[in-house]
């Protein structure tokens, strides 16, 4: 029996619902997203309900997580970035748990659908644009001109900067989607080899499957971390125009 390694990414409607021509059917990805949301909410509520001075296991884990996200925000945005803490913590926890739950055999990796990652990326980038124009007004367009650019370079620099700005949401969305999809395709191919190889040679790809699964856990963390860091960097750019460039020189 041959099966495409992309087969696990296909979605079938479990409960077809159509609302005014809009397809809002329930499928596996939707259910897994509900599971992730309720899992994260339950964990955080349970961890926060005790509020002991000497934290228990769950509470200290939640405190470490919050402290970690706080560290990212302080490193990239500074103190005024803390007002975005709820959004950034939610994004981080949701993406992290989506990535991790997808590693359980039989479940589904929601972040391997580019629709999901693109919505997050557009949300983050749109928010940074709105923040920038609210804080700086028309001067925010100055983000297209790096400081210290000579006037004769402007016709070249503005298109380049425009492209690199527009590339931000795309690189955010594609990075997460591509990493999760590629990891699961590799896992699928290796496991297919293990099954078709039989006992004589099949143990070799099976051992690789186990090793890759461990690597994928690391990738799940790193991808959630990168998405969060870049969210902070883009929002921070909207806050202090050219702040980082001046800092670097």
């Amino acid at each position: 029996m041959e099966e495409s390694p992309l087969h696990p990414f296909e979605l079938h409607n479990w409960l077809p619902i159509s609302l005014g021509g809009l397809d809002i059917s329930i499928n596996k990805a939707v259910v897994i997203m509900w599971v992730v949301v309720s899992l994260v909410a339950a964990l955080m509520v349970m961890a926060g309900s005790a509020r002991k001075l000497v934290p228990g296991k769950l509470q200290s884990m939640a405190e470490m997580m919050v402290d970690f996200i706080r560290g990212i925000i302080m490193d990239t945005m500074g103190k005024e970035g803390m007002r975005f803490f709820p959004l950034i913590a939610t994004l981080f926890l949701f993406i992290l748990f989506c990535n991790l739950i997808g590693l359980i055999p039989g479940s589904y990796t929601v972040t391997s659908q580019i629709v999901v990652t693109a919505v997050f990326a557009c949300l983050v980038y749109g928010l940074s644009l709105v923040m920038g124009f609210l804080l700086h007004g028309v001067k925010f367009l100055g983000i297209l001109v790096p400081p210290g650019t000579p006037a004769w370079l402007l016709p070249l620099m503005i298109p380049i900067e425009l492209i690199s700005q527009l590339a931000r949401p795309i690189s955010l969305a594609v990075r997460l989607f591509a990493n999760m999809t590629a990891g699961h395709v590799i896992l699928g191919v290796l496991f297919g080899l293990a099954i078709s190889g039989g006992l004589l040679i099949g143990w070799l790809p099976f051992a690789f499957t186990i090793a890759m699964n461990g690597l994928e856990v690391g990738i799940a963390f790193i991808q959630a971390y990168i998405f969060t860091v870049l969210t902070c960097v883009y929002l921070g750019d909207a806050f202090h125009l050219h702040g980082h460039d001046e800092h670097a020189h």
Binding site: M61, M64, M65, F68, G71, I72, D75, P159, I160, E161, I163, S164, L166, A167, R168, I170, S171, V174, R175, A178, N179, F221, I222, Q223, Y225, I226, V229, L230, H244, A248
Partner: protein, 73 residues
């Protein structure tokens, strides 16, 4: 859970970023050039050629800029 100052995680994060930064700028540049060609000016090969060149420049500039932010160790 790694702390944000962990050099291994920070380094891996930086390394993974740069590849997609290059690629995304190239996609956007080529895409804008293609839109100019097909819908706006009808300047068929030149829009996508110029867009790709600008995209490569923007991608390298993106990678350079994120490398500038690396912590010095």
């Amino acid at each position: 859970m790694p702390p944000s100052q962990d050099p291994l995680y920070a380094g891996l994060g930086q390394a993974v970023r740069i590849g997609t930064d290059l690629l995304a700028a190239l996609i956007v540049g080529g895409g804008l050039g293609w839109v100019c060609d097909t819908y706006l000016f009808g300047s068929t090969p030149w829009g996508i050629v110029g867009g790709l060149v600008l995209g490569v420049m923007a991608g390298i500039r993106n990678a350079y800029r994120s490398a500038q932010r690396w912590p010095k160790t």
